[in-house]
Each structure stands twice: as structure tokens, then as C-alpha cells.
């Protein structure tokens, strides 16, 4: 079954906070393979409620994010969204692992020392 992942990002990183994130990446994938072009959405302003609504309207199956409040986490889980929260690190790596099904909640993705990432 095709899955649709929402990743909250900031610069090169998974956004530290769900409620303050304004950049959203949507990726469709099936059995570990990305389907089509990922879509980037820039929100006018940050809003945890708007993100929750967007997740429901877009039929999101998976979310990768940083810190999220329990109330929003519970809402998303209730809406049958698999939430991998408290993830720290490069969002590209997180997406790769998320699509492959190897990313876990609270995972810290360390970067190489010479890798220049912008927060």
C-alpha cells in the first residue's frame, strides 16, 4: 500500500519543534521506493493545529518531526498516523531511513564532522 510521509524541516535539519515548523516536505513511497517528486510546502506562519489538519486532509500515513507536544502526538496517533518524533539530524538522511523503514523514534542522526549543515 502506498504511504505518504510528512517531514517537518528547518534548513538541513528535521525541524526541532513541530509547533514552530514552517517548511513541510511530503513524500509518497511504496515498499521502500519514493514515488514521484517530493512536494515542499512553505507555510505562511507556524501552527501545530494547521499541521495536524494538513496531515488529516492530505491522508498522511507517517510523520517525521522533532519535539511535539503530547496532545498533538495523541491526536495524530488517533488519526492512525505513525509519528516518529524527537528525531534529530539531517532531514535527507531521516527521509531515506524513514522510507526504508529503519528510522526510529528519538533517533539521532550524527553528521560527518566535515559536513556543513545549516540549521
Amino acid at each position: 500500500m502506498m504511504q505518504k510521509m510528512m517531514v517537518l524541516i528547518q534548513g538541513d535539519f528535521v525541524a526541532p519543534r513541530f509547533d514552530l515548523a514552517t517548511e513541510v516536505l511530503m513524500v509518497q513511497f511504496d515498499k521502500g521506493n519514493v514515488i514521484g517528486e517530493p512536494k515542499m510546502i512553505i507555510m505562511e506562519r507556524s501552527s501545530d493545529e494547521a499541521l495536524c489538519q494538513m496531515a488529516v486532509e492530505e491522508n498522511i500515513t507517517d510523520i517525521i518531526c522533532g519535539g511535539i507536544e503530547e496532545v498533538h502526538y495523541n491526536f495524530l496517533v488517533w488519526k492512525k498516523v505513525a509519528v516518529l518524533d524527537a528525531v534529530i539530524g539531517n532531514w535527507r538522511k531521516a527521509v531515506e531511513k524513514g522510507v526504508a523503514g529503519t528510522l526510529s523514534q528519538g533517533e539521532i542522526l550524527h553528521s560527518n564532522k566535515d559536513e556543513s549543515l545549516t540549521l
Partner: protein, 467 residues
Amino acid sequence: MNFPFDVNIPLLLEGFPHPAMILDENFRIVALNRLLEAMTGYDAESVAGIHGELIIRSNTGNSRGQLYSNVMQTGVSVSVTGDIINSYRRKIAVQYSIAVLDDNAGRHCGLLVIVEDLSGREIVNSSGIANYSTMEMIGHSAKMQKVFDMILLLAQTDTSVMITGETGTGKDKVAEIIHQKSSRARFPFIKVNCGALPPGLLESELFGHVKGAFTGASRNKPGMFSLADKGTLFLTEIGDMPLPLQVKLLSVLDDREFVPVGGENKISVDVRIIAATHRPLRDQVRKHKFREDLFYRLNVLQIHLPPLREREGDVRYLLDYFLQKFTKALNKPILGFAPKALQALLNFQYPGNVRELSNIVEYAVNICPRKKINPDHLPPYIFDQQADRIPAADSSPREFSREAKKIDSAAGYTAPSDARESWSEIERQLIVDILKDHRGNRTRVAEELGWGRMKLWRKMKKYGLQQ
């Protein structure tokens, strides 16, 4: 980093009374103390080299490290207030202070970051009375006032506390208030749900493990007991804790030390335990599902949170409180409840207690397009039959069982055959039946129901039984 004297940074940070860390010139974590580990939920080893703001996650305008850059450039310390969200999904109010560190040559070489937890600060209203409403502990009923009085007493001691009550009555909030009002308030408050993890994982979560203890244990991990050192460990759903772990928990409570999974050396801790359960623990002890010695060890001080149906008058206050909260959050112009909707809400039994009431009001505020909430805007199930409604599973609160027994034993009373009757109808019928039995003698009716005459009068007035 160069210092004009030899300094053991981790040891220095451990001496700080607040969560703190040291960052290098690129704002990457060099060291952090145990209090910050507990506050953020990340251990020092795994976050070394990570940008400091990625683990703090504040809303203080530092999301891209702007405050760090300013302090590093100007050398002027800053202190701002805001909140953080930790990896336990908890939002914590903090005072975020950042100061520059210089090397021997006077060059800025790093930052000292202190993240003081403000959630423990007492909020006192103008009358000087502690205000629990900031924690959503609201109640004007006599039973809740007793609970509030007990909280203050329990906070003064350092003994284990057992909190009992049905689901949704606010056990977690009471535990947190007790911690915040205690002398341990500036140290961590760590919550562990004993029913949410499989036994092996729960042991590692509570006591930590050493590298190589089991497959996948690639590094040492401090357990919740270590992280809660000097603070409070809140063990919720303690009734679901597996028996072998209960033995280990008992030994920690007695000796104040434990051995991590796969480890050899004992670790000493100073932790206050608050436990909570919705299960009747005495029954669990009788069924040999909970150790008797641990039960007595934890049950030194006990506080029972009454279910909402026993909190006379509180439903109205809570409805107004949550209505105001959700209309503000959702920016809706709702002014109140229409009389019929209010009556339905006041008659409902709330088996899920305050949590359920909050959810119902949230639902109504979302659905309601008008200025008043009508019955149409309430979840349909609250109008369904409540005769077959059982209060939260296994909770068997004493009061409810007593009521149930009264219903069973009421002379001549038979359970309504029509399962669609509401709780109000059942209660009304019960009063009528007992009034008949006692030929209208209200004193005896009140006695049989276990009510005061005033309560009986109110109920009779409510159901139109006054002549």
C-alpha cells in the same frame, strides 16, 4: 577548550543546581549535566557534537542559534524566558540563560547554557491561595477541596505516595503538583508508564543498562532512576508492573541503590516515588498479581481522586472552564451552552471523568457553528443509554460499588428492562421505589440511599418528585 586552571567540566556542571551544558564555538555540545539529560530526555554521550538548540528546542527565537551567535559576537550574556518541548512530549516553561566562555587569550571559545525549569514556581493568585487551575486541577466540591488540602500535606513529606482513582481523574497532574510543591521541585520529575512497555524494556528503562548487556545495547544508558536523582519518579499504572520487576523496585526503595541491567556496580540514588494506579491494588495483592510487601512500601501515604460523578457541582465549573479554553484556542465566538445541551451534559455520568468531559467540550466547540452549543453539537453517544455504561474498567471505586449495591439491594427495585433509559431515569426510579417502600418517609429514604436529607431534597426537586 583552554581554561586558566585545570577543570573537570562534567564535574563542574554536575555542581550546577539547574540543567546546564557547555557548547563549543560552533554551538555543538561539549558536555551537559544530568539535570539537563533528565529535562531533555537525551543522554550526554549520544548528543555530544550536536547543535545545542536541537536538543533544547526552545521558542525563544533561537531556532537557528541566533541567540548563541549574538552572545558569541558581543560577549554579552542573555537571559530569556520561553518554553521547550522535550523528548517525552512535555512542554516546560524555562529561563534560558546563555553566557560566553573565553580562553586564556581572551578569545570567545564557547558558551555556557543554563536552562532553568520554571514550571515548579508557585503561581499564587491575588488572594494568596495557590492556584491549581494552571495545571487544570479545578474543583470546588468538598471532595476536591480535601484532595487539594492533602496535596499540600503530601508535598511537605518525602515519603512514597500512592495515588488512586479512575482513568481521567487527574492522577498525573496531582503527582506533578506534589513534586512541584515539594523541596525536590527544582530537580527532575520523571514519569514512567509501567503498563506501556514490555518487561525487559521496562527494566532497562527504569534502571538503565551497560554497553553489551543485550543485543543492541551499543552504549551505556542511564535509567529513569538515575535521571530522577534528587527528584521524583512517578510510576504510573504501577498495578501493571511485572512481578520480577516489583522485587527489584522494592529493593531500590529499601536500599536506595540498584545495579543497571548487565552491570556489576551499584548506583546510589535519592529518589522520591509517587505511584498511581486505576486498578484496585488490594485485589491485585489478593490475586497474587502484586507483591504485598511492595504494596505496603508504596502505600505509605494514599490519596484517592474522586470520579467526576461524585464531585457535586464541579461539572458545571469544568464545562465553563473547558468551553472558555477551547473557544479561545479555536478562535470561535461561542458564548455558552443552550439549556437543553447543558442539562444533557450535567446529567451525563462521565465514565472517562475530566478527560472525557474535556473531549466532549472540545468536540462541541469544533462542531458548533453558532453562539450557543445545542444538543445537536454534542457527541451523540451521550444521549445513548447509560444503563449499560460501566465506570472505567476495573476501577471499582468504593463509592460507585456502594451505589451499585444500593441499587441491587433496594427493596422491590428491579433493574430497568429498557436498556435505553438514561442514568437520570434510573436514579429517579430508584428514589420513587424507595419512597414507596418507606411510605414517603424521607429520613429513612435518605438513610437507605446513604445521602443527606439535603441531597435527597435536591434530587427530588430535580426529578419533579416534590409535591
